[in-house]
């Protein structure tokens, strides 16, 4: 029995059935059935993906289904990683969605589209021809767009976010389409096997063009700057379970596309491709986390953090390509393994974080960190879940992302003595970029967790927050368990990841693993996350015991009022807010962020020395958006106005256009002949 094939087919069937169930079941039970169905799809996908990683190929060919090349699916180890990740995210999100749907998401269209979205994401990494890939990609884009727009009746911002997303994702599709068509034109047909065979023989110019075009398209899906503009819009406005799916599963496919085209189909390439990718990845990582650090909207913050993490993944991919181009295949494998592991860990903690954010949103109706706080009393489980996710996201031990970032740093560091001039200059900068990203991630998630969940509630809604229903908590629990597992025992999956990475770049397995310790092949370096966590626990318990033993007053701690400098009780208005927390950072990076602020002071009528009110506003616009998108949009709007002048509605004018153009054509014909 081929598990990979069976899993894929099961996912196909359950996904389709869940979508049908979403259409047919009555409202009260619809969300439950769809949620379970989505989770089942996810389980099947995980099985298929893991089996594919283990080397079981799954091929499904449906040549007659589409007119051009038919549908062709092949699940190889690389695709298997992404299918498994998508499936795992779908399991947690499916169960979570049962409870989350209570908040106005029980509608037929939403519930029917959700499984289709999951299914399309499962199929993209399995697609094995240009036509199939584009079809699945478009299905994914459309379904996700519908899901993003789910709440457009309730909030007008959703429509704007949806517009941005629709335009950018379709522009991305067009660019990918052009790139792949150019590629396919140089190959026997559109199947990946043909492309793979043609890859090394294409002229460097065409190969470069294909890589850049597809890179732009896939990069925009991964939220890489400057194509990230849709991400911080769509993620906050989408329902939280959709945000989790998009942020933890969909963006990965951008990275998948780049790896698939660059490594697998084009067979690696010259160093400048990967240098470009690495640079963009590093810039995205820093820019994304910087904007995350200063944003106060919890879900927007998480969205920017996705840009950051995808940036890190692309740093890994870029480094891997660079090493491969300079013949360092083991290091290339290491960097690729780091990138893949980071995809997995990011999926785990981002699912958890978006689920917790959704839980908060459902309980309070607030996303603004400046309105939250004090949730730990009302929502202890959600607080713990977000804390766990934040620990993972800030890349501190014993968190999940620490291991993948450690691997990434090891790859970058060991690249130096081996590689050439470009690596010698790029690697230190890349290390610095990764380090700065890690540092800023610490600020971001201390802020998100500390301000959002600890301290005193800053709004009545936050004070009245109650814990979410059990199904949501179960979904969060699953994602949380994945985070803990990845943090403590990455040794379980690392050999598999290493083998996949090695297969992609054509090297030996770059990581050697014993029960608890990760060792790097060929270069010195080892880390044992489990031992680290264990040592930390032992030290903690020992410190507690010692403190208990030494402290002479065993008396239980008294409950005292906070030290308020002797004044009246401290109110929530005196607390630090997310804005004030990030203010020092914003000032440090003022050259990059260029915040806009204005202060209006109105004076008392009698004297200009007495102030009546001070109105202070500060806004940190996304600078790339402002510099890059607004001119383009303004130009488009300008052309639109010009165009409107051409079409005033007069039939005579339109007929005239036809006549003029006919004449012009004829004159042209005469002249050219």
């Amino acid at each position: 029995m081929n598990v990979a094939l069976g899993g894929l087919l099961t996912a196909l069937v359950t996904g389709g059935l869940s979508a049908l169930a979403g259409l047919l079941f009555p409202t009260p039970r619809r969300a439950t059935v769809v949620g379970i169905g989505t989770a089942a799809t996810g389980v099947a996908a995980v099985a298929a993906g893991v089996a594919a990683m283990a080397g079981q190929p799954a091929v499904v060919a449906l040549p007659q289904l589409l007119p051009l090349a038919g549908l062709l699916f092949t699940l190889d180890p690389l695709g298997g990683v992404f299918v498994a990740v998508t499936g795992a995210v779908a399991v947690a999100v499916g169960i979570y969605g049962i409870g989350y749907a209570r908040h106005g998401l029980r509608g037929r269209s939403f519930q029917a589209v959700l499984p289709l979205f999951v299914l399309s994401m499962v199929l993209v990494p399995a697609a094995a021809s240009v036509g199939t890939l584009l079809l699945c990609w478009e299905l994914m884009a459309l379904t996700s767009l519908l899901l993003v727009l789910a709440e457009h009746r309730r909030r007008p911002q959703v429509a704007s976010a949806g517009r941005w997303y629709a335009v950018m994702t379709h522009l991305g599709l067009v660019v990918i389409l052009i790139g792949l068509l150019v590629f396919a034109a140089n190959a026997a047909d559109g199947s990946f096997a043909a492309l793979r065979a043609a890859g090394p023989t294409v002229s460097p110019l065409v190969a470069g063009l294909v890589f850049v075009l597809t890179g732009i398209g896939f990069g925009s899906k991964a939220g890489i700057i400057p194509l990230h503009a849709w991400l911080p819009r769509a993620h906050p406005e989408a329902p939280s379970n959709v945000s989790a799916l998009m942020s933890a599963a969909m963006v990965n496919l951008g990275a998948y596309g780049i790896v698939r085209i660059g490594f697998d189909l084009l067979g690696g390439g010259p160093g400048w491709w990967w240098l470009l990718l690495l640079g963009l990845g590093a810039a995205s990582a820093i820019y994304g986390i910087l904007l995350a650090a200063i944003s106060t909207d919890l879900k927007r913050l998480l969205g920017y953090s996705t840009t950051e993490n995808m940036g890190l993944v692309l740093v890994g991919v870029g480094a891997s390509g660079l090493f491969a181009a300079s013949g360092e295949s083991t290091l290339a494998g290491l960097a690729m393994a780091a990138a893949l592991l980071h995809v997995i860990t990011h999926a785990a903690f981002k699912t958890l974080l978006f689920q917790s954010a959704g839980s908060v949103l459902a309980a309070t109706g607030r996303r603004d960190l400046d309105d939250l706080g004090g949730l730990r009393t009302g929502m202890p489980f959600t607080t713990a879940a977000f804390g766990l996710g934040a620990l993972a996201a800030s890349a501190l031990p014993p968190g999940a992302a620490f291991v993948s970032e450690w691997l990434l740093l090891q790859a970058l560091i060991h690249g130096l003595p081996a590689s050439g001039l470009s690596a010698a200059i790029v690697m230190p900068l890349a290390v610095a970029a990764v380090a700065l990203t890690a540092g800023l991630a610490v600020v971001t998630f201390v802020k998100a967790f500390g301000i959002g969940f600890l301290a005193k509630p800053r709004s009545p809604e936050a004070a009245a927050a109650r814990e979410s229903p059990a199904s949501m908590l179960t979904g969060m629990g699953l994602a949380g368990a994945a985070c803990v597992g990845l943090a403590l025992l990455p040794t379980v999956i690392l050999p598999g990841i290493g083998a996949v990475a090695a297969g992609v770049v054509g090297s030996g397995n770059p990581v050697v693993v014993d029960a608890v310790t990760i060792r790097l092949a060929d270069v010195a370096g080892s880390l044992s996350p489990l031992l680290l966590a264990l040592a930390l626990t032992v030290a903690l318990v020992a410190a507690l015991a010692a403190a208990r033993a030494v402290a002479t007053r065993r008396a239980t701690a008294i409950d005292a009022r906070l030290w308020d400098c002797g004044g009246g009780p401290l109110s929530a208005r005196m607390e630090y807010t997310a804005t004030s927390f990030a203010e020092p950072l914003q000032r440090v990076f003022d050259d990059v962020l260029s915040a806009e602020q204005d202060v209006d002071v109105t004076h008392v009528e009698e004297s200009r020395y007495l102030v009546q009110t001070i109105d202070y506003r500060r806004r940190v616009p996304d600078r790339i958006e402002r510099r890059l998108y607004q001119p383009v949009l303004a130009a488009l709007a300008g052309w639109g106005r010009v165009g409107r002048r051409l079409a005033p509605g007069s039939v005579h004018r339109y007929l005239g256009y036809g006549f003029y153009s006919l004449c012009a054509m004829l004159i042209l014909l005469v002249v050219t002949r």
Binding site: L454, A455, A539, A542, V550, A555, I558, A560, P584
Partner: protein, 315 residues
Amino acid sequence: MTVFGVVGVVIQLVIVVALAPLLTGMMRQIRAAMEGRAGAGIGQPWRDLRKLMRKQPIHPRGTSVVFRVAPLVLIATCLVVAAAAPFVTTASLLDPIADLFAVVALLTLGTVALALAGIDTGTAFGGMGASRETTIVALVEPTLLVAIFALSVPVGSTNLGAIVTAGLEHPASVFSPVSLLAAVALVVVIIAETGRLPVDNPSTHLELTMVHEAMVLEYAGPDLAIIELASSMRLVVFLGLLANLFVPWGIATSGQPVLIAVGVAVFVAKVALLGGALAVGEVFMAKLRLFRVPELLAGSFVLGLLAVAASFVLA
């Protein structure tokens, strides 16, 4: 080997814990001497700790378990690093933890725990301290990792034991521009990480100028004792790392009691020397404005980067 490892871990833990308050006491004493004071004596921090342990613990109203656990996490990170890093002996039981990245990340974890505790109180000063501390941490990180990078290039590993052993085997490499530049960069970073002048004033009484102190304003009794001990331990750990990464001589490479005794003595001497130099330097410095700190850190970042560049330019 394992016996040696266990003995090493225990000795290092004992030394670091015992030494930490004494180092703080010595630094205060040096400062006092230079200010023309008599000073409270080297043992004063130990007396403070003993007194604090006898006091009543207080858990302010409205604080959560985060506030209660933070001191323990802080000291646990210091303990793990003290046990794992090669201070007295090179053979560590916890070798797979003794990675420079892991050590740095662990110490950052302690800072983060304290910052969360500061926010958890819900007081303005707690939030302020947390905000400042994490900002500094974010800016310190690139410098720290680049300096580590520079150190690891000649050795080809970020494992602390490997770097120290390599230093022992090639004593001449200590006097290379790579180590000198990296050392300067690391000194600045350590000053920032341990909250010493000119980045933070550990003896300030003015809330508005506080960074580290502002986060711990709510702690009392045994909790405060743990935090103070951990802060001193951080200093010892960082100075010990600085000493042994650049001047590893004297560290015990095998389990002979004599070597271990020498290792202990040399380690104590090195840390005392560095601490003394730091204390003397602090007398000549004023605290920088918070927004001048990035300048300092950018400078040390450049030095770290130059160290990396030098490591392959002057290879």
